[in-house]
Symmetry: C2
Subunit: 149 residues, 2 copies
Protein backbone atom coordinates (compact mmCIF):
# COMPACT_ATOMS: atom_id res chain seq x y z
CA UNK A 1 0.00 0.00 0.00
CA UNK A 2 1.36 3.38 -1.03
CA UNK A 3 2.26 5.75 1.80
CA UNK A 4 0.82 9.25 1.81
CA UNK A 5 -2.32 11.00 0.69
CA UNK A 6 -3.64 8.14 -1.47
CA UNK A 7 -3.56 5.59 1.29
CA UNK A 8 -4.96 8.10 3.79
CA UNK A 9 -7.93 8.61 1.48
CA UNK A 10 -8.28 4.85 1.06
CA UNK A 11 -8.40 4.25 4.81
CA UNK A 12 -10.71 7.18 5.43
CA UNK A 13 -13.11 5.67 2.87
CA UNK A 14 -13.07 2.53 5.00
CA UNK A 15 -13.94 4.66 8.06
CA UNK A 16 -16.76 6.21 6.00
CA UNK A 17 -18.10 2.71 5.29
CA UNK A 18 -18.32 2.26 9.06
CA UNK A 19 -20.15 5.58 9.40
CA UNK A 20 -22.62 4.36 6.79
CA UNK A 21 -23.23 1.20 8.87
CA UNK A 22 -24.03 3.41 11.88
CA UNK A 23 -26.44 5.46 9.74
CA UNK A 24 -28.28 2.31 8.67
CA UNK A 25 -28.69 1.39 12.37
CA UNK A 26 -30.10 4.85 13.20
CA UNK A 27 -26.96 5.76 15.15
CA UNK A 28 -25.12 9.07 14.79
CA UNK A 29 -23.05 8.16 11.70
CA UNK A 30 -19.40 8.18 12.74
CA UNK A 31 -16.93 5.46 11.81
CA UNK A 32 -13.31 4.61 12.56
CA UNK A 33 -10.59 2.20 11.53
CA UNK A 34 -7.18 1.54 13.07
CA UNK A 35 -4.28 0.78 10.75
CA UNK A 36 -0.99 -0.85 11.66
CA UNK A 37 1.66 -1.54 8.98
CA UNK A 38 -0.87 -0.66 6.26
CA UNK A 39 -3.33 -3.28 7.53
CA UNK A 40 -6.69 -2.48 9.11
CA UNK A 41 -6.59 -4.24 12.49
CA UNK A 42 -9.87 -2.81 13.84
CA UNK A 43 -12.99 -1.19 12.46
CA UNK A 44 -15.98 0.14 14.37
CA UNK A 45 -18.90 2.53 14.24
CA UNK A 46 -20.85 4.43 16.83
CA UNK A 47 -23.19 2.15 18.83
CA UNK A 48 -24.27 4.46 21.67
CA UNK A 49 -27.99 3.85 21.20
CA UNK A 50 -27.82 0.12 20.52
CA UNK A 51 -25.64 -0.49 23.57
CA UNK A 52 -27.16 2.33 25.67
CA UNK A 53 -23.60 3.27 26.57
CA UNK A 54 -22.16 6.75 26.02
CA UNK A 55 -18.66 5.27 25.80
CA UNK A 56 -19.58 3.21 22.72
CA UNK A 57 -18.12 5.77 20.32
CA UNK A 58 -16.50 4.45 17.15
CA UNK A 59 -13.04 5.45 18.43
CA UNK A 60 -13.36 3.64 21.78
CA UNK A 61 -14.77 0.47 20.20
CA UNK A 62 -12.02 0.46 17.54
CA UNK A 63 -9.32 1.13 20.16
CA UNK A 64 -10.47 -1.70 22.43
CA UNK A 65 -10.57 -4.12 19.50
CA UNK A 66 -7.08 -3.06 18.35
CA UNK A 67 -5.57 -3.35 21.85
CA UNK A 68 -7.08 -6.80 22.22
CA UNK A 69 -5.79 -7.85 18.78
CA UNK A 70 -2.26 -6.64 19.56
CA UNK A 71 -2.33 -7.76 23.21
CA UNK A 72 -1.02 -4.33 24.15
CA UNK A 73 -2.75 -1.26 25.50
CA UNK A 74 -0.36 1.12 23.72
CA UNK A 75 -0.64 1.82 20.00
CA UNK A 76 2.29 4.08 19.04
CA UNK A 77 2.75 2.17 15.76
CA UNK A 78 -0.89 2.64 14.71
CA UNK A 79 -2.97 5.26 12.94
CA UNK A 80 -6.61 5.94 13.73
CA UNK A 81 -8.83 7.17 10.90
CA UNK A 82 -12.12 8.61 12.12
CA UNK A 83 -14.72 10.51 10.14
CA UNK A 84 -15.27 13.26 12.75
CA UNK A 85 -12.97 15.02 15.20
CA UNK A 86 -12.91 12.99 18.45
CA UNK A 87 -14.66 14.28 21.56
CA UNK A 88 -12.63 14.87 24.77
CA UNK A 89 -13.39 11.34 26.04
CA UNK A 90 -12.04 9.75 22.87
CA UNK A 91 -9.07 12.13 22.63
CA UNK A 92 -8.23 11.26 26.24
CA UNK A 93 -8.35 7.54 25.43
CA UNK A 94 -6.18 7.99 22.32
CA UNK A 95 -3.73 10.06 24.39
CA UNK A 96 -3.47 7.37 27.05
CA UNK A 97 -2.97 4.80 24.27
CA UNK A 98 -0.17 6.94 22.76
CA UNK A 99 -1.73 6.50 19.32
CA UNK A 100 0.98 7.21 16.75
CA UNK A 101 -1.16 9.20 14.35
CA UNK A 102 -4.71 10.51 14.20
CA UNK A 103 -6.43 11.32 10.92
CA UNK A 104 -9.90 12.79 11.03
CA UNK A 105 -12.35 14.20 8.53
CA UNK A 106 -14.42 17.17 9.68
CA UNK A 107 -13.89 19.27 12.77
CA UNK A 108 -16.68 18.96 15.34
CA UNK A 109 -17.48 22.54 16.17
CA UNK A 110 -19.66 21.61 19.15
CA UNK A 111 -17.97 18.68 20.88
CA UNK A 112 -14.51 18.38 19.30
CA UNK A 113 -11.63 17.98 21.77
CA UNK A 114 -9.79 20.97 20.30
CA UNK A 115 -12.52 23.31 21.57
CA UNK A 116 -11.63 22.25 25.13
CA UNK A 117 -7.85 21.91 24.96
CA UNK A 118 -5.51 20.84 22.16
CA UNK A 119 -3.34 19.10 24.75
CA UNK A 120 -6.05 16.46 25.27
CA UNK A 121 -4.23 14.69 22.46
CA UNK A 122 -0.75 13.37 23.32
CA UNK A 123 2.18 15.51 22.19
CA UNK A 124 3.68 12.52 20.34
CA UNK A 125 0.57 11.93 18.20
CA UNK A 126 0.85 13.18 14.61
CA UNK A 127 -2.32 14.82 13.39
CA UNK A 128 -3.86 15.14 9.91
CA UNK A 129 -7.32 16.55 9.29
CA UNK A 130 -9.77 17.26 6.50
CA UNK A 131 -9.82 13.90 4.69
CA UNK A 132 -13.28 13.28 3.17
CA UNK A 133 -14.49 16.22 5.24
CA UNK A 134 -17.49 16.91 3.00
CA UNK A 135 -18.64 13.29 3.01
CA UNK A 136 -18.32 13.22 6.80
CA UNK A 137 -20.45 16.35 7.21
CA UNK A 138 -22.98 15.26 4.56
CA UNK A 139 -23.84 11.97 6.24
CA UNK A 140 -24.17 13.69 9.64
CA UNK A 141 -26.46 16.38 8.17
CA UNK A 142 -28.54 13.71 6.42
CA UNK A 143 -28.90 11.92 9.78
CA UNK A 144 -29.87 15.00 11.81
CA UNK A 145 -32.20 16.28 9.08
CA UNK A 146 -34.03 12.93 9.14
CA UNK A 147 -34.54 13.40 12.90
CA UNK A 148 -36.21 16.78 12.34
CA UNK A 149 -38.74 15.48 9.80
CA UNK B 1 -29.26 6.09 54.73
CA UNK B 2 -28.69 9.59 55.99
CA UNK B 3 -28.22 12.26 53.32
CA UNK B 4 -25.18 14.53 53.44
CA UNK B 5 -21.62 14.31 54.68
CA UNK B 6 -22.03 11.04 56.59
CA UNK B 7 -23.40 9.11 53.66
CA UNK B 8 -20.85 10.69 51.34
CA UNK B 9 -18.08 9.43 53.61
CA UNK B 10 -19.73 6.02 53.75
CA UNK B 11 -19.87 5.70 49.98
CA UNK B 12 -16.36 7.05 49.53
CA UNK B 13 -15.14 4.34 51.91
CA UNK B 14 -16.75 1.83 49.55
CA UNK B 15 -14.85 3.42 46.66
CA UNK B 16 -11.66 3.13 48.76
CA UNK B 17 -12.33 -0.60 49.19
CA UNK B 18 -12.31 -0.82 45.40
CA UNK B 19 -9.01 1.10 45.26
CA UNK B 20 -7.58 -1.43 47.73
CA UNK B 21 -8.65 -4.28 45.41
CA UNK B 22 -6.76 -2.59 42.56
CA UNK B 23 -3.69 -2.22 44.80
CA UNK B 24 -3.76 -5.93 45.58
CA UNK B 25 -3.79 -6.67 41.84
CA UNK B 26 -0.78 -4.40 41.23
CA UNK B 27 -2.96 -1.87 39.41
CA UNK B 28 -2.85 1.90 40.05
CA UNK B 29 -5.16 1.97 43.10
CA UNK B 30 -8.25 3.93 42.12
CA UNK B 31 -11.78 2.83 42.90
CA UNK B 32 -15.31 4.02 42.18
CA UNK B 33 -18.91 3.29 43.08
CA UNK B 34 -22.15 4.60 41.56
CA UNK B 35 -25.05 5.28 43.87
CA UNK B 36 -28.70 5.64 42.91
CA UNK B 37 -31.38 6.22 45.58
CA UNK B 38 -28.83 5.47 48.32
CA UNK B 39 -28.04 2.07 46.81
CA UNK B 40 -24.70 1.14 45.23
CA UNK B 41 -25.63 -0.07 41.74
CA UNK B 42 -22.07 -0.45 40.43
CA UNK B 43 -18.57 -0.76 41.85
CA UNK B 44 -15.29 -1.04 40.00
CA UNK B 45 -11.56 -0.52 40.23
CA UNK B 46 -8.86 0.27 37.76
CA UNK B 47 -7.98 -2.73 35.55
CA UNK B 48 -5.81 -1.11 32.87
CA UNK B 49 -2.93 -3.58 33.22
CA UNK B 50 -5.03 -6.73 33.63
CA UNK B 51 -7.15 -5.91 30.60
CA UNK B 52 -4.35 -4.12 28.68
CA UNK B 53 -6.90 -1.44 27.91
CA UNK B 54 -6.34 2.24 28.73
CA UNK B 55 -10.11 2.78 28.91
CA UNK B 56 -10.45 0.32 31.83
CA UNK B 57 -10.43 3.09 34.43
CA UNK B 58 -12.58 2.57 37.52
CA UNK B 59 -15.00 5.29 36.38
CA UNK B 60 -15.57 3.83 32.91
CA UNK B 61 -16.04 0.29 34.23
CA UNK B 62 -18.45 1.50 36.93
CA UNK B 63 -20.36 3.65 34.43
CA UNK B 64 -20.80 0.81 31.94
CA UNK B 65 -22.01 -1.53 34.68
CA UNK B 66 -24.49 1.09 35.97
CA UNK B 67 -25.86 1.88 32.51
CA UNK B 68 -26.33 -1.83 31.83
CA UNK B 69 -28.05 -2.29 35.21
CA UNK B 70 -30.42 0.62 34.60
CA UNK B 71 -30.89 -0.12 30.89
CA UNK B 72 -30.22 3.55 30.22
CA UNK B 73 -27.12 5.37 29.05
CA UNK B 74 -27.98 8.52 31.05
CA UNK B 75 -27.45 8.71 34.81
CA UNK B 76 -28.83 12.08 35.99
CA UNK B 77 -30.26 10.45 39.13
CA UNK B 78 -26.92 8.90 40.11
CA UNK B 79 -23.82 9.95 42.04
CA UNK B 80 -20.34 8.69 41.24
CA UNK B 81 -17.86 8.40 44.10
CA UNK B 82 -14.28 8.02 42.91
CA UNK B 83 -11.11 8.15 44.98
CA UNK B 84 -9.16 10.41 42.57
CA UNK B 85 -10.18 13.27 40.30
CA UNK B 86 -11.21 11.80 36.92
CA UNK B 87 -8.97 12.22 33.86
CA UNK B 88 -10.35 14.00 30.75
CA UNK B 89 -11.48 10.69 29.22
CA UNK B 90 -13.54 9.81 32.29
CA UNK B 91 -14.86 13.34 32.76
CA UNK B 92 -15.96 13.28 29.13
CA UNK B 93 -17.79 10.00 29.66
CA UNK B 94 -19.48 11.29 32.83
CA UNK B 95 -20.47 14.45 30.97
CA UNK B 96 -22.03 12.49 28.13
CA UNK B 97 -23.83 10.35 30.71
CA UNK B 98 -25.16 13.50 32.42
CA UNK B 99 -24.13 12.10 35.79
CA UNK B 100 -26.13 13.93 38.47
CA UNK B 101 -23.31 14.34 40.94
CA UNK B 102 -19.60 13.62 41.12
CA UNK B 103 -17.78 13.19 44.42
CA UNK B 104 -14.05 12.65 44.33
CA UNK B 105 -11.28 12.42 46.90
CA UNK B 106 -7.95 13.97 45.91
CA UNK B 107 -7.23 16.26 42.99
CA UNK B 108 -4.97 14.73 40.36
CA UNK B 109 -2.42 17.44 39.77
CA UNK B 110 -0.97 15.75 36.68
CA UNK B 111 -3.89 14.23 34.79
CA UNK B 112 -7.05 15.63 36.40
CA UNK B 113 -9.67 16.95 33.98
CA UNK B 114 -9.72 20.36 35.69
CA UNK B 115 -6.15 21.05 34.53
CA UNK B 116 -7.39 20.85 30.93
CA UNK B 117 -10.81 22.49 31.14
CA UNK B 118 -13.43 22.59 33.90
CA UNK B 119 -16.11 22.41 31.23
CA UNK B 120 -15.15 18.80 30.49
CA UNK B 121 -17.69 18.03 33.20
CA UNK B 122 -21.33 18.74 32.31
CA UNK B 123 -22.77 22.01 33.66
CA UNK B 124 -25.62 20.09 35.30
CA UNK B 125 -23.30 17.84 37.34
CA UNK B 126 -22.99 18.79 41.01
CA UNK B 127 -19.44 18.47 42.29
CA UNK B 128 -18.03 17.70 45.75
CA UNK B 129 -14.35 17.07 46.41
CA UNK B 130 -11.94 16.22 49.20
CA UNK B 131 -13.68 13.19 50.76
CA UNK B 132 -11.04 10.76 52.16
CA UNK B 133 -8.45 12.82 50.29
CA UNK B 134 -5.57 11.68 52.51
CA UNK B 135 -6.46 7.99 52.21
CA UNK B 136 -6.71 8.37 48.43
CA UNK B 137 -3.25 9.98 48.21
CA UNK B 138 -1.71 7.55 50.72
CA UNK B 139 -2.63 4.42 48.80
CA UNK B 140 -1.39 5.96 45.54
CA UNK B 141 1.93 6.98 47.15
CA UNK B 142 2.30 3.50 48.64
CA UNK B 143 1.75 2.03 45.18
CA UNK B 144 4.21 4.29 43.36
CA UNK B 145 6.82 3.99 46.13
CA UNK B 146 6.64 0.19 45.81
CA UNK B 147 7.42 0.57 42.09
CA UNK B 148 10.57 2.56 42.85
CA UNK B 149 12.04 0.02 45.24
Amino acid sequence: MQEGILSDTYFMKEAMKEAQKAFEKDEVPIGAVIVCNDVIIARAHNLVEALQDVTAHAEILAYTAAAEYLGNKLLPQCTMYVTLEPCPMCAGALSAARIGRLVFGAHDEKRGYSIFNNKLLHASTKLSTGFLKDESINILQKFFNSKRE
